[in-house]
Symmetry: C2
């Protein structure tokens, strides 16, 4: 890797970092390429040299983030013994993400906007599948270990995803404490339900 490539990589990262900050502050649509130009000192053309499009840039950030999340998780799984503990840990981590990583806000603004390239759409679908698979694996594990009632892990995975997605959304109008509480409550309900025996 010679100096030119290095420089290039740094520039790309610089753009990514600035863009992330702006998307976090102002949301996806409200952040214009010009804003990013202003924040980086890089030119418009250069941004388009490093990233295919605004969508592409944003997707890059999302995937980067998703990847980091996975790494964090893999590093900390071993801390938890039972699947129940793991579930709570996931909730904890997601709650922290909502709080510390407000890219989520811009993210689902983005995910809801109508105008998507088919490429973007397919990459989004991939991510979705990955999440469901993650949930399913966790649930299956719990079922096999006898912690959870026997059930269709695939269907439950969807329910769990819905819960997390919804919690993520509602956390926007909640304070930090409430957010943490919501995620915990949600997992508790998921595990124990609310019906009297």
């Amino acid at each position: 890797m010679n100096q030119k490539q290095l420089q290039s990589e740094q520039t790309k990262k610089k753009i990514a970092v600035a863009a992330r900050a702006l998307f976090v502050q102002k949301g996806y649509k409200a952040t214009s390429i010009e804003d990013i130009v202003g924040a980086t000192g890089s030119s418009k053309g250069n941004i388009y040299y490093h990233f295919k499009s605004k969508e592409g840039l944003f997707l890059y950030l999302i995937e980067e983030w998703d990847h980091e999340w996975e790494l964090n998780w893999e590093q900390s799984v071993h801390l938890y013994r039972t699947t129940t503990e793991k579930l709570y840990a996931v909730a904890e981590q997601l709650a922290a993400d909502d709080l510390n990583h407000p890219l989520t806000k811009a993210a689902d603004e983005f995910f809801h906007n109508e105008e998507k390239t088919s490429e973007v759409e397919s990459r989004m679908a991939e991510m979705n599948v990955k999440h469901l698979a993650f949930n399913q694996k966790l649930l299956q594990e719990g079922i096999e270990s006898g912690e959870f009632k026997p059930g269709d892990a695939e269907r439950l995975a969807v329910v769990l995803e819905a819960i997390f997605f919804g919690a993520n959304h509602l956390s926007r109008s909640l304070g930090p404490d409430m957010t943490t509480m919501l995620y915990r409550d949600a997992v508790t309900v998921f595990l124990n339900g609310i019906a009297e025996e």
Copy 2:
């Protein structure tokens, strides 16, 4: 009510109906005022005569819809005896809404877009509060009747809202059968949890 007022009211309704259809088809942002002009035969100016803004028009549709939902619910509550039955009924109705009333799609595209008037924002908050109150009341009822475990109805209401919201979102990439199933599963999990005793 004289002829003029009547005509006026009809026009407003005509605009609302056409706009709804377009929002459903194309989403919020992708539907332009010109599209609505094209679909109604009414002029741009006339639309702005009847509605304050595009946002205002959309909000009008949402509130109309919310109101109808409430009416439907009030008409059918008496069919259900236990709170459990009611919860499933709510889920059923919401699932049907997702399927039949795809304004939901445009709705949360709208709800996620950054640029909102403070008035719109407060009206959205109102609706949110109303939903939570609805959930809370239902849960409280179930707790008092002994159907549900004693618990903090307010916090559970938030969890329930999160579940419904998430289910609504995930239903987009699911077929009709899966959607119904998801809602049912979600309520079942909410009631019974998945943990082994």
